[in-house]
């Protein structure tokens, strides 16, 4: 799950990283009040789970409380890459002398964590990585020993940081890595990390993503979930053991297995359709799971046909067919359903499905084509 800037900043602060403070405002009035409390220029920043908010007009400098109110008014309600802004962070403006980038994430190829830093702070780091890769300094982290002080120093010297400022960034790099590990993050990032005019280090932004598989170790994060930002349906699905991702098309997909679910979406597209979702029902494809999947898929008003794709493995195809038929009776589905059932006892399963009035086939391509036809016909 992704954290908002102000949430990540609070975590950074608990691990000793000096951040810029500030408070969250949901209305222009609140923004004005906070700015008044700051008593000086502030920055008003959209709190959304996406990058590029600066370019999209989601960050504004305000010199007076009145300006802060106007800035908040302009930003609240803004649509940034499909995310509507419902809150802003109002924080004191900093006296920036130099901007850096500092981040920790997993290097999947090396199966090790990596600390990355750049003197090109404050800009889109992925753009820097693509266009000026030599401007990014990296240190692979020992899986057992963590980030060594010497590695952090090496990064600092490579960035050309003056000797008397090296100790400061070494400390922050180690604190950031510590935060990343302690909070089971998959990403922890400060962009920009700034050196102020008075020579102090300050984290001006904070970004963190948490490993969903590790949330059992961090029950406190449940309270930080942003139901406006994350798709509530996806969260409900996860609680039922179903992986669900909403997409823009009109063919609802219900599949067992993540890889097969992706291949099913691809097949829909190949046959001229657009998938309405990614959906992996998980292991058994029981009546309960299929019923829940029907609920998830049919909640989307754009769905005009449903494609069920099950490869009967350990679970027999006839049992799966019974489950589908049963779920079909429990949940009202008004759009056409096409079922592809293959694997163990597939013929028997298809017979049962046909009896239940469902179109059934053993070929994934055929099923995808049929679903696309059905959607277009609807």
């Amino acid at each position: 799950m992704n954290l908002h800037e102000h949430q990540a900043a609070e975590l950074f602060a608990t691990h000793g990283i000096r951040t810029n403070g500030g408070d969250v405002a949901f209305t222009p009035d609140e923004a004005e009040t906070i700015a008044r409390g700051v008593g000086g220029p502030v920055v008003v920043k959209a709190q959304v789970h996406t990058g590029g908010r600066g370019k999209a007009g989601g960050v504004k400098l305000a010199t007076t409380p009145r300006d802060a109110r106007e800035a908040a008014k302009a930003i609240l309600g803004l649509d940034i890459r499909g995310h509507v802004v419902s809150k802003v962070l109002v924080a004191p403006a900093a006296d920036i002398a130099q901007e850096f980038y500092l981040g920790v994430t997993l290097d999947r190829t090396r199966r090790q964590n990596v600390v990355m830093a750049s003197a090109e702070g404050g800009v889109d780091i992925e753009e820097v990585a693509r266009e000026r890769p030599d401007r990014i300094v990296r240190a692979l982290v020992d899986p057992f020993l963590g980030l060594h002080p010497w590695q952090a120093r090496q990064i600092a010297f490579a960035l050309g940081i003056p000797a008397d400022k090296v100790g400061g960034i070494v400390t922050i790099a180690r604190q950031l890595y510590e935060t990343y590990v302690a909070e089971d993050a998959t990403l922890a990032e400060i962009n920009p990390l700034v050196l102020t005019g008075s020579g102090e280090w300050l984290a001006l932004d904070a970004k963190m993503s948490i490993d969903d598989n590790a949330l059992f170790r961090h029950p406190e994060f449940e309270a930080l979930r942003d139901f406006d930002a994350e798709d509530r349906t996806e969260i409900d699905a996860r609680q039922s053991g179903i992986s669900f991702v909403k997409l823009d098309g009109d063919i609802g997909c219900i599949v067992n297995g993540a890889g097969l679910a992706m291949a099913t979406m691809d097949a829909v597209k190949l046959h001229g359709g657009e998938p309405a979702n990614f959906l992996d029902v998980g292991g058994g494809a029981s009546a309960d799971q299929v019923a829940k999947a029907f609920g998830l898929v049919t909640a989307d008003p754009h769905v005009r046909a449903i494609l069920i794709n099950i490869f009967g493995g350990i679970t027999r195809g006839d049992i799966v067919a019974q489950g589908i038929a049963e779920a079909r009776q429990r949940v009202e589905v008004t759009v056409p359903i096409v079922v592809r059932l293959s694997g163990t006892n597939a013929e028997e399963g298809q017979r049962l499905l046909a009896e239940a009035g469902l179109t059934a086939t053993e070929s994934m391509d055929e099923a995808a084509a049929a679903a696309v036809r059905a959607a277009h016909a609807a």
């Binding site: 992925e126 297995g257 993540a258 097969l260 990614f278 694997g343 994934m364």
Partner: protein
């Protein structure tokens, strides 16, 4: 011939008395796999599918000399089970468990490598050498012995492809599911190297998906080290960036890890890339003839 497991493999099941563990132990034994023992703390004296259960891996090793371990314990305890297997000398460990935090797998990966053992998974279906041994959760009956090595990040998608191959009369030397997590013990490259060296394998099917750069790495490896024909398929051509597609590893991030990039890399390496699973058998037939 085959890779990694065969009829001589002596399999230890960790978490053997659990629901998943006991079910799949029965299934594996039924397939003909030589399951020699299992471990469940406090389970000493029980039997599952005829295999004796021990309290510790050390006891199981002393009494039954296994050389492959397969793990069915819950995510919170799976890393400990991997360490127990490796530290007790198991050279090959298959971890089926899904949902292990990445932070736990990073040191596990390093430790297994330092110990000189091999880990397959986690979050994988395991592997099978048709007609000899099944060390995993795949449906055995869809597999047939033959000349094609299959390696995949996915579960049911692999069954889909294997089933298509078998129906087309093309058997498999071994089929290996490497798993869909960001940190896995055995990568495409490792398995490709094994298939290249295996005399029984004449062609290879590689099934990738979005996320990470393992397919790109594999493409480089194929170009330099693989002489046998390779057919490739990448799932997730329609997946949007920033969304995790079920597997923790299947996520397009920072504009990289897309299916298009992976297909291009494989294509450039001489792999016959197909756009749908059903096209795999024909591509293999063309490659083999």
């Amino acid at each position: 011939m085959s890779i990694l497991v065969d009829r001589e493999s002596r399999v230890l099941v960790q978490g053997i008395t659990g629901r998943e563990g006991s079910f799949h132990t029965e299934q594996m034994a039924e397939y003909g796999t030589n399951v020699v023992s299992g471990v469940t703390p406090g389970g000493k004296g029980k039997r599952v599918a005829g295999a004796p259960v021990f309290d510790t891996v050390a006891d199981a090793v002393a009494e039954t000399a296994p050389n492959v371990a397969i793990i069915f314990v819950p995510a919170r305890f799976a890393p400990d089970a991997i360490y127990e297997a490796v530290d007790n000398g198991l050279p090959f460990v298959v971890c089926i468990t899904e949902g292990i935090p990445v932070a736990d797998m990073v040191p596990v990966y390093a430790h297994v490598r330092n110990a000189g053992s091999r880990l397959l998974g986690p979050n994988c279906p395991g592997l099978i050498t048709p007609g000899e041994a099944k060390v995993g959760i795949m449906p055995g009956f869809i597999h047939t012995p033959g000349p094609v090595g299959v390696v995949s990040r996915s579960g049911t998608l692999t069954y889909e492809v294997v089933d298509a191959l078998s129906r087309a009369g093309i058997g498999q030397s071994s089929a290996v599911g490497i798993g869909g997590d960001p940190v896995i013990g055995t990568s495409f490259i490792d398995v490709l190297g094994l298939f290249e060296a295996d005399p029984a394998t004449e062609a290879i099917v590689m099934i990738g998906e979005i996320g990470g750069a393992d397919e790109e790495q594999a493409a480089l490896f194929i170009q330099e080290h693989v002489t046998k024909p390779v057919v490739g398929f990448i799932a997730g051509q329609t997946a949007p960036p920033g969304k995790r597609m079920g597997h923790a590893g299947a996520i397009i991030s920072g504009g990289s890890g897309t299916a298009a990039e992976k297909m291009a890399a494989l294509d450039a390496a001489g792999v016959r890339v197909v756009d749908r699973p059903s096209a795999v058998p024909a591509a293999i037939q063309a490659a083999l003839s």
